[in-house]
């Protein structure tokens, strides 16, 4: 059963064996998930954010659980570009999924420097431009709220990326996500990923203080899924469809059924995040579940499903 079903996708010129990605900050730098699943079953893999210099990250507590979700404020803690190249890149060379490096920084120059340095690396299929991190004081989301800034940073990083695919990760915390999406695409983005986390807060009512040391954090998990599905559908209809720009959709995906919702809404790829923390082999199960759905619904090619929402 299912042998004649094609769940491969074309993603900005990349041929992926299936639409499932594990997303930045939830799957390590390379092979951290390999004790739990065969990471080579993935369609795509997005590394933890890489900045030019190593970053310590925020004080603790950095996370707090909420009803059907969690807040995180890690603060882009990462090993930095040089250590990434030295220690993690060699592992990624043996990877079969399309590897995207998530690039972050405080200045446009920093984003460009990281991207340029990695642009000739064979192991890397593309870059994910992080202009939507809500948990750092400089950079991150401050680049992602204003269409002119989005266009500026996208075109600068696009040049630095050379032949590699450039995907821009969008924040949901904007007035109109389609305006930002369009700005990124006009400036050269080959793909868009959405959504990053929603800025949120949890208060300890006994101490009357925020639980997170950073005060606020990014909300992820099943709690955000219906909003994320809506935003993917909106960007698909208003920006991506007519320009033939693939979307990596995600936000609270726990099962294949959730992933299929995003695909129907307009996503070509689906990103698994918070659920990796709970079921580190969930991506493999979701891939199987997507295939099962296709079998049940006589879908021979998953591409037919993208944007197939009936009104």
């Amino acid at each position: 059963m299912g042998d004649n079903i094609d769940i491969s996708v074309d993603f900005a010129g990349l041929k992926l064996v299936n639409p499932v990605f594990t997303v930045s900050g939830t799957c390590g730098y390379a092979d951290e998930l390999s004790d739990f699943m065969d990471v080579n079953c993935l369609g795509g893999f997005i590394t933890k954010s890489i900045t030019l210099a190593p970053r310590k990250g925020n004080a603790t507590p950095r996370i707090v659980e909420t009803d059907s979700g969690m807040l995180n404020a890690i603060g882009l803690a990462n090993v930095g570009l040089e250590k990434f190249i030295e220690e993690k890149l060699p592992v990624l060379e043996n990877f079969s999924p399309a590897v995207f490096v998530n690039v972050a920084g405080q200045t446009i120059e920093e984003y460009v420097a990281v991207t340029e340095r990695l642009s000739s690396e064979r192991a890397i299929a593309g870059f994910e431009l992080n202009i939507s991190c809500p948990n750092v004081k400089k950079g991150g989301i401050s680049f992602g709220r204003d269409p002119e800034q989005v266009a500026g940073i996208t075109s600068a990083v696009k040049k630095a990326a050379g032949e590699k695919v450039l995907m821009v990760k969008l924040s949901p915390a904007v007035t109109d996500i389609s305006v930002i999406a369009a700005a990124a695409v006009e400036a050269g983005a080959d793909a868009l990923s959405l959504v990053n986390t929603f800025t949120a807060m949890v208060i300890d009512i006994e101490t009357r203080k925020p639980v997170l040391a950073n005060r606020t954090g990014g909300l992820s998990g099943p709690a955000i899924k219906p909003i994320a599905v809506y935003l993917v559908n909106k960007v698909y209809n208003e920006v991506a469809k007519k320009r033939d720009i693939p979307l990596l959709g995600g936000g609270g995906i726990r099962t294949a059924l959730d992933a299929i919702e995003f695909i129907i809404a307009g996503a070509s790829g689906v990103g698994i995040g918070t659920t990796n923390f709970i079921e580190p082999d969930c991506a493999a199960k979701i891939i199987d579940g997507i295939r099962d759905y296709c079998v049940r619904n006589d879908i021979t090619n998953i591409k037919e499903l993208t944007g197939s929402l009936l009104e």
Partner: protein, 314 residues
């Protein structure tokens, strides 16, 4: 890869509940049994390591069984796994059995009270790094505060069953007698100062109790009790070793006591964590860098939860 290597790998396994026993107001002891690959993996579970339990599918107790102070919080959805160290782990033949301790403090642990023999749980482990006792130590002092006792019980069990010959003394502290999470009958023995807690007594380990209000054992902080003992001890610092688990303030005091006397000391740290397997980077512990005034964050789940006391910045 050797057989040894394969069987000690971490992974996601199924555990079957063998018992779930209330041992005091708000404390329970949960028995888990592993078979197959899980038995092999958990046979290598070291004292101080931990595992992540999925409680999200476990039912809530009926409303009248929910403690009053948790009535509002109990109904929250549980999404993330919960980390637990073990108080005991025994491998026999093809089965490995473990026991953990939990306090009923929130939506996950209130659900755990409904677990009963035969129930199945998904568990990820063994995770992190446990206690490492160097050669040549004569006396090991265990210091546990509040709920911070399971890995110390496990350590006492492991060392005595290995016939290590090391003398072990357990210091156990809590706010009040009722908050001591032990099965030992406090009523019978609380009159005596140096009474034995059953969990330590069964491995031949002496235990010294302190409570803030003096309702059991020594009145005062467990670290004050420890200090008094150290002052009377004739052992040299390098013959001794301390292992501690408990509230952060207690760990800070133990760390200072160890540093002042130049005694080797390891601390089991606790942090909020989402994954426990190095993905989320939440469980940061601020650590010193030797020869530098800089500090770095090390992840409690991978570098710890057991840290050398000299490393940790309080």
């Amino acid at each position: 890869m050797s057989e040894e290597c394969l069987s000690s790998a971490r992974g996601t396994f199924e555990a079957v509940v063998s018992f779930n026993r209330r041992i005091g107001p708000g404390f329970c002891r949960l028995g888990l049994e592993f078979s197959g690959e899980g038995a092999k993996a958990f046979a290598h579970f070291e004292p101080g390591q931990f595992a992540q339990l999925d409680i999200s599918n476990t039912a809530l107790p009926s409303p009248e069984a929910v403690p009053d102070h948790l009535r509002d919080a109990a109904g929250r959805n549980v999404l993330l796994r919960r980390p637990f160290s073990f108080a005991q782990m025994t491998a026999e033949g093809r089965k490995t059995t473990g026991e953990l301790l939990y306090g009923v403090v929130g939506p996950a642990t209130v659900r755990m009270t409904t677990l009963s023999a035969g129930d199945k749980l998904s568990i990820i482990g063994p995770l992190g790094r446990g206690f490492r006792i160097p050669e040549g130590k004569k006396t090991l002092l265990l210091v546990g505060g509040g709920m911070g006792t399971p890995p110390l019980q496990h350590l006492a069990q492991a060392l005595t069953s290995q016939g290590s010959g090391i003398e072990i003394i357990a210091f156990a502290g809590a706010r009040t007698a009722e908050a001591l999470p032990y099965e030992g009958r406090l009523d019978d023995i609380s009159q005596q100062l140096g009474f034995s807690l059953a969990e330590f007594a069964k491995c031949g380990v002496e235990s010294l109790v302190a409570t803030d209000d003096g309702t059991a054992g020594h009145r005062g902080l467990v670290t004050d009790h420890l200090l008094q003992w150290l002052e009377q001890s004739k052992l040299t610092p390098d013959e001794m070793m301390m292992c501690a688990c408990g509230p952060e303030a207690m760990l800070a005091r133990v760390s200072r006591i160890a540093a002042e006397r130049n005694i080797d000391c390891q601390l089991s740290m606790e942090r909020r964590m989402a994954c426990g397997i190095g993905l989320c980077q939440s469980c940061a512990v601020e650590c010193r860098v030797p020869g530098s005034s800089e500090t770095i964050y090390k992840m409690c789940c991978e570098h710890g939860p057991v840290f050398d006391a000299k490393e940790v910045v309080f």
